[in-house]
């Protein structure tokens, strides 16, 4: 019925599928890693498709023999209670990000249990998502009853064994969003976790991270989360997640974690990891904005999926992922964001607030949740 978009390659794979579901337009992706040594879809991508199939009803997926081309015809989002074992090649964050983007538009409230790697070096960890994306989601869904996320178990790569529970209420439509002033950072919080290693590791990370952060703000509090006896399945690992909270309720996050065992890399030093995370947090603060660089794309998506009203947000410089996301968004919904650099007013001129900020403005596409049942 509706014309399908054709894409090439595996880049922004998730975004394409998520947008396909939201817009209801089928897509065809060809030439997936055709030149690669390991051609076609990877296991984690196949798992992602399976997850989408669980969330939706009536989705049709055709994959060719080599896995280098897929045709995806989206169904309607249903939600409900779902369990999914994620591939351990990627973190749960990889899946959870997309799930969170789809969750408010299901027919029934989504209650999902994801199992796999909770924290790794590649993907946004579940802690970070909980700390940063949650406040944003809460702003969009009006009433946050039923919005919940629990980290039941932690799992580090390569074996995983972590478990996350996420539930989200459904909405007919989201709330318009204007967020232009992030305020000033009033405190820094964080979690240092250690799985199947000595709890001293966590403390050492905290020490080194604090060493740097206390230079800028006295209110730094990092909890340690040491879990033992997860079971024989999991792998050892440790890491730290740092969150900066501002006076206006914006959150910035940075994280760092140890090298996974058997990855060929030398074992990491906890002090280095703590310092790296602190450094990354400061870098994130340097970029600034009302949303974290990880959440830019999701926030922009929710802004676009509103009634035909103006939404506005200030962010730090756009990440390459966000830029690609914006292009894909235009392909599916025809939405273009007005992007402008924030002009510094004269009173801000001599403030040392990192790099220039970007203001993004868009008009929603008039999206409503088509799968929700009305009484």
């Amino acid at each position: 019925m509706s014309s399908s978009n054709i894409y090439q390659g595996s880049e922004s794979f998730r975004v394409r599928l998520v947008l396909s579901i939201l817009s209801g337009r089928p897509i065809r992706i060809v030439k997936i890693r055709t030149q690669d040594d390991n051609p076609g879809l990877h296991e984690y991508e196949a798992g992602f498709i399976r997850l989408l199939d669980k969330i939706t009803n009536g989705t049709k997926v055709e994959v060719n023999e080599t896995g280098t081309a897929i045709y995806f015809q989206p169904g309607l989002l249903v939600g409900g209670p779902i369990e999914h074992d994620c591939s351990c090649q990627r973190g749960i964050g990889y899946y959870l990000e997309s799930v969170m983007q789809l969750a408010p538009f299901c027919k029934k409230p989504l209650k999902i249990v994801l199992r796999g790697v909770t924290n790794d070096q590649v993907d946004t960890s579940v802690d970070a998502l909980k700390c940063v994306f949650f406040p944003i989601l809460r702003r969009f869904v009006v009433d946050d009853e039923g919005l919940d996320m629990k980290i039941n178990r932690r799992g580090a790569p390569p074996l995983g064994g972590g478990e996350v529970f996420f539930s989200c209420p459904v909405r007919k439509q989201l709330r318009p969003f204007q967020f232009l002033d992030p305020g000033l950072i009033k405190r820094i919080r964080g979690t240092a976790y250690a799985v199947q290693v000595s709890p001293a590791m966590a403390n050492r990370m905290v020490e080194s991270a604090k060493g740097l952060l206390l230079k800028v703000i006295p209110d730094v509090f990092i909890t340690t989360d040491h879990r033992k006896g997860v079971g024989k399945k999991g792998s050892p690992g440790y890491g730290i997640v740092l969150i900066a909270e501002t006076t206006k309720g914006a959150f910035l996050v940075a994280e760092s974690s140890s090298n996974p065992i058997n990855s060929g890399k030398p074992p990491s030093v906890p002090e280095d990891i703590g310092l790296e995370a602190a450094n990354r947090l400061l870098q994130e603060i340097y970029r600034g904005g009302c949303v974290d660089s990880n959440c830019q794309s999701s926030t922009l998506l929710f802004m676009a999926l509103y009634q035909k009203d103006v939404s506005k947000i200030m962010t730090g410089p756009l990440s390459p992922y966000t830029i690609k996301f914006l292009r894909t968004l235009r392909d599916f919904f025809g939405t273009q964001f007005k992007v402008e650099t924030k002009q510094r007013s004269h009173e801000e001129e001599d403030l040392r607030t990192g790099c220039d900020k970007v203001i993004l403005t868009c008009i929603g596409v008039g999206y409503t949740n088509l799968s929700k049942t009305v009484a």
Binding site: Q8, L282, L318, G334, Q336, T341, T361, V365
Partner: protein, 1292 residues
């Protein structure tokens, strides 16, 4: 006199002192005015808590009742014309009214009205009139777009079904404003009857619409027109009517098409008359913002996708000045392209001046005689501008290569006038826009080389004539087609050259630029030269061809050179500016100028030149010269930020700058962010480059065309592949990270924390200080919160205080009045304080004691949103603005849609409304739609499940097969065979996904000839899904064949043991109500099973299991394509017929299962077997109960038999006499006998008495005798006894 004296009384003298005076004084002492509440507090006290609560509750209820959910006001600043539809049954005066209204507004008489007519009818109001014909499809479409409906009713006849149908359609699709108009009132001669009729109709109308709905009376015709005053009145009402937003229309953009043009390339038409067409639709955008390239639905045609959209100058603009009170005649514009008025027609790139009444849309009827001239005539009939067609035209060089279009080459056009004289001698002046691409590259020296691409490509289309020219043209077009890129390069190169001459930029810059442009330089150079050659040749060619064409087309065509030249001049100027700006290295300037250029429609120029310019600029803008080159390279690539970053740092390392090496990472990061920060770049970084990549993806074709010219190198392809399969991760992991352990770096974020410096406006210290300052010199000042004015008490030297009115702070400061008295000042201050207090009190009251209510907050939020929507993109250029927000309502647009069925164009009828309704994301899909539906109470028959139904929902009209169901209490959807009579039910059908809450309307047959009400059901969408759960009850019946105590084996319920396995554990029941459970399948007979019951069942029992069976909803959906039908059949669209219809048509009768027939119940009398009592029992019974022997039939000849056979005898008179006598005798005889008998009886009685008496005597005597005897005897005995005793005594 005396009397007077006596009458005069002593005057009363009031006491002024003393007790009495004091008393009186005390009495009259002034009491303070008290309010009623103060005077009588008891009356206002809360006596009953309950009552008080109720009162409060009621007050709150009333308050909340007035509140509505605040909605964001999305009405545009300059709204589109309102759509006024004139609706009514045929022959009621619609056309006459329309003509009268148009005449009323414009003072023009339209001879022929076809399609919508747009009129400027007031200073701020435009109206589009449309007459709705008597077709239910039209009525539905009209109801979806009309803002106001004039419902015409023939008063002499009364309401007709169409009126009610239309009202019901309106109700479902959001109820536009409706005004009734009664016509044919002159039919009533009798005034009283007329009055009665009016009243009757009015009340009926009110019940249908709403109480007090406006109803107009058109009392009669004068010279075939309605009376002027009445029409004027109606017009006035139309022009001041207010509208409320309707849900569907405030979420869905749409265009009510007032013109369409077929722009299919003529070659395609030539090959196949019935090929899919490319059509341009024109009209005002209504509703909300219309996004380009979105999916649309054309009711009556189908789902399509917008290929392109462009806005055009308003053909019917509102007057600019609003000074005068009313409109001047000049401003009373009328625009009715399909009716052939309106003069100038603007297209995207051409202006058509219409001189006659026949603009276009003649039927394409070709006379057979004109066959030899078919091409020529078809050209005469073209509905699109020649230039457009050229833009669409394609040339294929090789069989397997992709066709080339000239569109790519075109970028902008400036008008020139083309006077075309057709065969009839009529002059048509057409403004043609020339292309400008070449002009971009034309150097200043080559003035004469301005050529017209149009003309060339026109040649191209007709190139078949001579191979020579054809090949040449192809070559040329190839060169042009080689695309903008090269043009751009050229222009840039020129720019660079220029700058070379005038100033010498750093060598690095130049070399980088050269790198960028380098690759095809030599080629470009060649092309450039050859271009010039071709240009020259073409000019001559063009002239020749032009002269050839003229006789062929029978049209004169003159190109006015001057305009073209002026166009060139302008272009050149622009180009100069661009170059200059490059020279002066001022990026902003260039951007501005570019914008100017683009404002003139030179978008491509901007894109091409601007892009490269800005690239150069970013290089220039960098502070450090050393860095500039890599920056340039980076910005030139502009695609992969991160990769570049690495590159950049690498390069930097290679170079041997010493100072900056210390902080490479930081600088790289800063530079990276800075690059993003350049505002204009940012947009291009995001969206601009995609256009490149898009081109690249399309590039494959281009490569193939360019078999000769290989554009894409292997390396770029590989790079493409790398980006194609880039790692999918949200984390910005490869971004440069600065080392914040260094104090200097850490300083850069110091003020992001609360511990750092604050903004002045937020800094508490600063604020406090400011407060102190103000307190110091502004004692007693206050701010009027309502007006935002600051009321100040002037300083001691500024003694005079102006009044409340002129409280302007500036005035305040400057006003230095005479210094009068301290008292006066005090008084004024007091007065002001009082005012302030009052204001504060009021303010607090309205805002709920400082706290705003939820409702007020919500309202404010919504208002703020509405303001933001209006103001956000206000200053922007329309070209850019439409990209951000889409086409605003009120814009006049041209929508180009390809793959339109040819019938839409060939069977086009302007009297049928044509709507292009946009679909929101997701609405193009198909799924199971569930609606809550109720059969219309006026529809005669109930609806059968799975019978085809035509549904109007959203923009669409379609036919589908609904399945009716009703929800049980356990939320199960139980399927129904028919819709309930007066009850809502659910209908599920396969159809387009439409937002929940959208109204739907169902029609069974659209045939207007059918009597009765055509709307069969109405409802609203509840849910949609990709699967359904509608269940049907199913009873499976079986019989026991073997019964043990509580176990039974049952057969006949299932056909295989597999089926049984599925139902294991299911509860079963016998008819007599014994419950049981299915246990397990047994092997033989197949499908039988063992079951247990709560009690023993009998062999004759029937066992059944109750199950639910999922019913499939048929997947049938077809759009009603009524617009594609030929004019005469437009209202006769026929979809799928119902089974009933088919059977009726073919007189097929269904095989009747006689079991299903209802027959009169016949009950046979029960015949019981005779009761037989056993003989032994019989014997014991009393006689009465003993069965008696039947009286046997009389023997033949017996007395009974004869008596039974007696016959009536008729006697002769004599015989009768004899018989009578005999009777008398007999009677006498019997009488006598009786008497004798009685006497005898009496006698006997008496005799018996006598006998008895004598007997008595006898007995008496005998007794006495006996007594005597026995006395004697006993005496004797006693004597004897005594004697004996004596003896014994004696003996003793």
């Amino acid at each position: 006199m005396d009397e007077d004296i006596f009458d005069k009384k002593k005057q009363h003298r009031e006491r002024h002192a003393g007790r009495k005076a004091e008393k009186k004084k005390g009495k009259n002492e002034h009491q303070q005015d008290l309010t009623a509440q103060q005077r009588n507090p008891k009356a206002f006290a809360i006596n009953s808590v309950k009552k008080a609560q109720r009162q409060f509750h009621r007050a709150q209820d009333l308050k909340t009742k007035k509140q509505h959910i605040p909605l964001v006001d999305r009405t545009p600043v300059e709204p589109p014309p309102i759509v006024v539809a004139i609706v009514g049954p045929p022959k009621v005066g619609k056309s006459t009214l329309l003509r009268c209204l148009i005449k009323n507004f414009t003072r023009q008489n339209l001879s022929e009205i076809n399609g919508p007519v747009t009129i400027v009818c007031g200073k701020k109001r435009r109206v589009t009139f449309i007459e709705c014909n008597n077709d239910i499809n039209s009525m539905i479409d009209i109801a979806k777009v009309a803002d106001l409906c004039l419902l015409l009713v023939d008063a002499s006849f009364g309401f007709e079904m169409e009126v009610f149908e239309f009202l019901n359609i309106c109700q479902v699709h959001g109820f536009p404003r409706i005004m009734g108009v009664l016509t044919h009132l002159d039919y009533f001669k009798d005034n009283k009857q007329l009055k009665k009729r009016k009243k009757l109709l009015k009340h009926r109308f009110w019940t249908e619409v709403y109480q007090g709905a406006k109803l107009f009376y058109l009392s009669g015709m004068v010279h075939g027109e309605y009376q002027r005053t009445e029409v004027k009145n109606l017009g006035r009402f139309i022009s001041v009517m207010k509208f409320r937003p309707l849900q569907w229309r405030t979420t869905h953009p749409y265009v009510f098409v007032d013109r369409l043009e077929d722009i299919t390339p003529p070659q395609d038409l030539h090959l196949d008359q019935k090929c899919d067409r490319t059509v341009c639709f024109y009209g005002f955008v209504r509703g909300v913002n219309f996004k380009n390239h979105c999916g649309v639905h054309i009711p009556g045609c189908g789902d399509l996708r917008v290929r392109d959209m462009a806005f055009l100058p308003d053909p019917c603009p509102l007057p600019e000045k609003l000074k005068k009170r009313s409109l001047v005649d000049k401003e009373k514009l009328i625009y009715a392209p399909m009716s052939g008025v309106g003069g100038i027609v603007y297209d995207k790139d051409a202006v058509y001046i219409d001189l006659g009444g026949s603009h276009s849309h003649k039927d394409q009827k070709l006379d057979k005689g004109e066959d030899e001239n078919e091409m020529v005539t078809s050209m005469g009939d073209l509905q699109a501008g020649v230039d457009e067609k050229i833009a669409q035209s394609q040339v294929q060089i090789f069989t397997d290569s992709a066709p080339i279009t000239s569109v790519d080459a075109e970028s902008f056009k400036l008008p020139s006038v083309n006077v075309v004289v057709d065969s009839t001698g009529r002059q048509r002046r057409k403004a043609v826009f020339s292309t400008a691409d070449e002009q971009v590259m034309i150097d200043e020296e080559e003035e004469d080389d301005s050529e017209d691409l149009d003309e060339e490509d026109l040649d191209e289309t007709e190139a078949e004539d001579s191979k020579n020219t054809a090949s040449m043209v192809q070559n040329e077009s190839l060169i042009f087609d080689e695309s903008e890129e090269e043009d751009e390069r050229r222009s840039i190169k020129k720019a660079v050259r220029k700058s070379d001459k005038k100033i010498s930029p750093t060598k690095k810059l130049r070399s980088k630029l050269a790198d960028v442009l380098d690759e095809n330089e030599s080629e470009v150079e060649e092309n450039f030269d050859s271009d010039a050659e071709y240009d020259l040749r073409d000019v001559s060619d063009r002239d020749d061809d032009g002269s050839e064409e003229e006789p062929m087309r029978k049209k004169a065509k003159v190109v006015s050179r001057r305009t073209v030249q002026t166009g060139n001049d302008e272009l050149r100027k622009k180009l100069k500016e661009v170059i200059e700006s490059v020279e002066s290295k001022l990026g902003n300037q260039v951007k501005k100028k570019n914008r100017k250029v683009s404002a003139n429609g030179l978008e491509d120029l901007e894109n091409s030149v601007g892009e490269y310019d800005s690239d150069i600029m970013t290089g220039k803008l960098d502070k450090e010269d050393d860095e500039s080159d890599e920056e340039e390279e980076l910005s030139a690539d502009e695609e992969k930020a991160s990769d570049e970053e690495e590159e950049a740092s690498d390069e930097e390392e290679e170079e041997s700058g010493l100072q900056w090496k210390t902080n490479i990472a930081q600088k790289a990061a800063e530079a990276f962010y800075e690059r993003q920060a350049v505002g204009a770049n940012l947009r291009k970084l995001i969206y601009g480059s995609t256009e490149q990549t898009r081109n690249e993806t399309q590039g494959e074709e281009e490569e193939e065309i360019g078999g000769l010219f290989k554009i894409a190198s292997r390396a770029t392809l590989k790079a493409n592949l790398v980006t194609m399969d880039e790692f999918d991760c949200t984390k910005w992991s490869n971004a440069p990270i600065q080392d914040f352990t260094a104090e200097s770096v850490l300083e850069s974020v110091r003020d992001c924390f609360v511990t750092g410096n604050w903004k002045e406006s937020e800094n508490a210290e600063e604020l406090l200080r400011m407060d102190d300052d103000s307190d110091f010199d502004m004692e007693g000042d206050f701010e009027d919160l309502e007006t935002g004015e600051i009321h100040k008490v002037s300083d001691k030297d500024q003694k005079a205080i102006s009044d409340q009115e002129d409280s302007d702070p500036i005035n305040k400061k400057t006003s230095t009045g005479p210094v009068d008295e301290e008292a006066e000042r005090q008084k004024l201050i007091e007065k002001k304080m009082k005012l302030k207090e009052r204001f504060d009190a009021e303010y607090d009251e309205t805002e709920g004691g400082g706290q705003k209510s939820f409702y007020e907050e919500l309202k404010q939020e919504v208002d703020a949103q509405a303001n933001m929507n209006k103001s956000e993109f206000e200053g922007l250029d329309d070209e850019i603005r439409v990209q951000y927000e889409g086409f605003r309502p009120g814009m006049y647009v041209r929508i180009e849609i390809s793959h339109v069925p040819c019938e839409l164009v060939s069977n086009f009828d302007p009297t049928y409304p044509l709507i292009v309704g946009a679909l929101l994301p997701g609405e193009e899909n198909i799924g199971y739609v569930q609606v809550r539906l109720k059969k219309h109470r006026w529809h005669k028959r109930i609806l059968k499940t799975r019978d085809p139904l035509t549904v109007s929902m959203g923009w669409r009209r379609f036919q589908t097969l609904p399945l009716y169901s009703i929800q049980d209490h356990n939320m199960r959807n139980r399927s129904l065979k028919y819709t309930p009579e007066h009850l809502h039910c659910m209908a599920t059908f396969w159809g387009p996904i439409t937002p929940q809450g959208t109204g739907m309307l169902a029609i069974q047959s659209m045939n207007s000839s059918e009597p009765g009400f055509r709307i069969s059901a109405t409802g609203s969408v509840v849910d949609q899904d990709k699967s359904t759960q509608i269940m049907k009850k199913l009873k499976l019946v079986g019989t026991p064949f073997k019964i043990y105590r509580k176990t039974a084996f049952i057969e006949g319920m299932f056909s295989s043991s597999l089926e049984v396995a599925k139902f294991e554990g299911a509860s079963i029941k016998t008819v007599s109500g014994i419950r049981g459970q299915i246990k397990k399948a047994v092997r033989k007979p197949e499908g039988s099973f063992r079951a247990t019951f709560e009690d023993k069942i009998v062999l004759s029992d029937i066992v059944f299991v109750r199950t639910w069976f999922r019913v499939d909803v048929p997947r049938f959906y077809t759009a009603v394509t009524s617009l594609l039908l030929p004019a005469s059949e437009k209202n006769k669209w026929q979809g799928v017929k119902t089974v009933g219809q088919l059977k009726r048509e073919r007189s097929v009768r269904a095989e009747v299962n006689t079991d299903h027939l209802y027959l009169p119940v016949l009950r046979e009398e029960k015949v019981f077997a005779p009761l037989v009592v056993p003989r032994s029992l019989q014997r014991q019974l009393p006689y009465d109960y003993k069965p008696k022997a039947e009286v046997a039939a009389p023997l033949p000849g017996s007395k009974r038999d004869i008596e039974g056979k007696r016959v009536a005898v008729v006697l002769e008179p004599k015989e009768r006499k004899v018989l009578g006598l005999m009777k008398i005798l007999k009677t006498r005889y019997t009488e006598r006998q009786d008497k004798l008998h009685k006497e005898a009886v009496q006698r006997i009685k008496e005799h018996r008495k006598k006998v008895e008496a004598s007997e008595e005597q006898k007995l008496k005597r005998q007794r006495e005798l006996k007594q005597k005897v026995s006395r004697v005897l006993s005496k004797m005995e006693a004597k004897k006894e005594r004697d004996f005793g004596k003896i014994r005594k004696k003996k003793r």
